[in-house]
Symmetry: C2
Subunit: 411 residues, 2 copies
Amino acid sequence: MSIQQERRTPDSENHSDSNSKTIDWPKVTKPPTVGIIGGGQLAQMLYQSAISLGIEAHLFASPTDEAAPKYFRDITRASSESWTPPEIYHFAQKCDAVTFDHELVSPNIVRELEKRGCLMLPTASTLELSANKANQRQRLTQLGYSLPPYQICNTLSEITSFGARYGWPIVIKPSTGGYDGRGVYMVDGETDAASIFNSLSSHLPFVVEPKLQLDAEGSVLAVRSTTGECLTYPMVKTLQVEGMCREVTSPGDFPQEIAAEARRVAGKLAEELEVIGILAVEFFVIDGKLMVNELAPRPHNSGHITIEANVTSQFENHLRAVLGLPLGSTDLRVPAAAMVNLISNSNSQNLLPLLPAALSVKGASLHLYSKSSRKNRKIGHVTVTAGSVEEALEAAHQTVDHLSGLEILEG
Amino acid sequence: MSIQQERRTPDSENHSDSNSKTIDWPKVTKPPTVGIIGGGQLAQMLYQSAISLGIEAHLFASPTDEAAPKYFRDITRASSESWTPPEIYHFAQKCDAVTFDHELVSPNIVRELEKRGCLMLPTASTLELSANKANQRQRLTQLGYSLPPYQICNTLSEITSFGARYGWPIVIKPSTGGYDGRGVYMVDGETDAASIFNSLSSHLPFVVEPKLQLDAEGSVLAVRSTTGECLTYPMVKTLQVEGMCREVTSPGDFPQEIAAEARRVAGKLAEELEVIGILAVEFFVIDGKLMVNELAPRPHNSGHITIEANVTSQFENHLRAVLGLPLGSTDLRVPAAAMVNLISNSNSQNLLPLLPAALSVKGASLHLYSKSSRKNRKIGHVTVTAGSVEEALEAAHQTVDHLSGLEILEG
C-alpha cells in the first residue's frame, strides 16, 4: 500500500512535481471529481458508473466527439481536434483525478500536467508504453514475458529480410496511430512492403510479425488502485474479424492452467508497469502456449461484458482504482455471458426503426453509443447472460443481426 | 396490441384529445426524448438506463431537487416548488413521452397536458388512483381483489366505532399526502383519534385498518408497454421498519403458490387499470393468505434490486414500456440477491470518509443518491448478489452499517 498524501486542492497555486497525490478519504467533505479526456463510449459507460458511486465526472471532449457529450452534464469542449496544453490544463485543474477514454493523448502533455500537480491516471509513463507498439514489445521482452515472434524494423531491408526468413505474408504494425484494426497491415511481398514503408514512414519503427496460426485469442483485465490493491478478472475469449473485436465470451473456454496463467501474467504486468486503473492484456494462444499480444491501459472492449456478467464492472473498478477506493469483486455473477459488437455496415445506417425487432430478443442488454454511422465503426454492443456461452452467444448475435438489418436481407 | 398512431410532433399546433399516440418506430429517424418529472433517485437511475438505450432524457426538476440534476444534461428547473401548468407544458412539448420520478403531480395538470396532445405515462387516470388511498382501496375492492380489512371513514364517530369493533390500536391512513412511512398513523384510542382527525381533516377521507399481524410483506413489479405487452417480475420479500422499506430479498421465500398468485394479481392489475410502465404492487401475507396492500405506478424501491439481480432492470423496462419497445426479460440472472436501503441517521451526515470501509465489503454494489443528509431520508442503497439470500443480506447490511458509521459506534 502506498502512503496517501495530501489531497490536491483544485485551483491551488501550490503545485508540486509529485504525481503521487491521491484522494485522502478521511478528510473528504464533498464528492471528488474525476475528469475524463475523450468523449466516446468508454466515457459514456464510465459516467453511468460515476452516477452510482455518487461522484462527479467532468468531460473533456473534442469538437467532433459524439457519444458521451450527449449525456454528461459538465463538459469542456476543446477549441479544435488538436487541443492545446493550456485548455487541457484548465480542465484538469478542476478535477481531483483525470483519466482517459482513449490513449490518443500525447504523453508529453500528460507529463507536463503531472508536473503541474494534476493527478493523471494512467500516468504519462504508462501512456508512453501503450502509445508506442515498438516500445511496448521491447519492454515486455525485457521483463521476460512470452511474446509472439517479432522484430522491430527501421528500414525496408530489415522488413524484406524478415519476410524472407519467416515467409510471406507478414504482418506490419507501425509503432503509433493504430487501433480497432487500423494500423495492422497484412503484407504479401516486397512490393507491398515497400509501399507500406513509404506511406507510413512517419510511424516508424514498425513491429513486424509472421502471420500467426492462433489456437485462440483471449483477454484478461487487471485493475490496480492508487492504494496498490490489484485484482484481475476471469479470462474471456475474444474473436477478432479483420483486426476488430467482434465477440467476447465469458468464461473463455481455455484450459484451466492457461486461464490461471493469463490472470497471473496480467496482474504481474499491472504491478510491474505500475498501471493505475484498468489494464487490458490481450493474449494469443499458439500451440497451446500463452503469449502476450498487446496492452491497453484503460477500460477495454473485451471488458464491456463485465457490466452484466461480473459483480463489479470494469468501469466502476476503473473509477474505484483512480479514486483510491477498495476494488469491487471481479467474479462472474452468472454462469455464462456473451458480448457482440454492433459495427456499422454503412455510412447512413438508421438503427432506430430496427430497435423493436432487436429488443424482442428476450435477454438482450443493448448498449447504443449515440454515434453516427460510419462504415466499420463500433456503434454499440449487446450482452446476453445465460446458462451457457452458446445460448448467450446465439441471442446476442440475433439481436445484432436485427440491428444490422441482416434478418431483412437474408429473409 | 393497440394500434400505433401517428408520432406526436413536438411543438405541433395540431393537438388532439387522444392520449393514445405512441412512438411510431418504423418512422423514427432520431432518438426519441423521454421527459421525466421530478429529480430524485428514480430519475437518476432512469437516466443510467436511458444512456444504454441511446435515448434522450430531459429532466423537469424542482428548485430544491438534488439527486438527478447533478447528472442530467438537459434540465428544466421549475420557478418554484409549486410549478405552474404553463412551465410544465413548455417542458412536455419538447418530449415524445413524459414519465414521473414520483406521484406527487396533480392528476388535473396531467390531464390538461394529455388534452393538449402530450403523451403522459402513467396517464392522469392512473395517477388519480395512486394519489388517493381511499379511491385506490375502493377500486381494488370493486375489482374483486383480496384486501386487508378496512373502512373508509369521513367522520370521527366512524373511526371510533371502527376502533371499538376491531379493538385499539388501529391504523389511520389519510387519503392523500403520505409516502415512506409518512401518512400512516398508529392510533391508541379515542383521544388520539380525535387529535389525528382534527389535524389532518384536509386529507379526508381516511382509510382505517385494524393493526394487522403479518406473516410477511412482499412486492411484485408488473410492467406494461403502450403496445399492450405485460410482464411481471419474480416476487421479492420486503422488510419495513417504521413504515419505510429497509431491505428487499430476491427471490422472496414465499410458498410457490403465493408467489405465483402474486405475479398473476400484479399482471392482472396492470392490465385492468391500464397502467403503462412499472406498476409496483405491495402485498401482505396474513394467515397464509395474499392481500393487496398498495399500488405505485412507477419504478419502486422494492425494484432497485433488479439492476443487479434481473436480466432487465425495472428502470430499463419502464423506459421500454413508455417508448412502446418490446419488454426485456424479467428473470433473475443470479441465484439470490439482497438490497438494503441507506437511511440517513442525522441531518449532518458526511458519508464520504466512510466510503473506503464500505466498499471494502467485496460484492457490494453501491448506489448513492447525491442527496444531502436529513434524518430518515433515503440517501442510497446497496445490492449484493450471491449464492444465497442470507449471504447477500449479510454483506449488504455490513456495507450499509459501515456507511452509517455503525461499526464505529458498536466497536
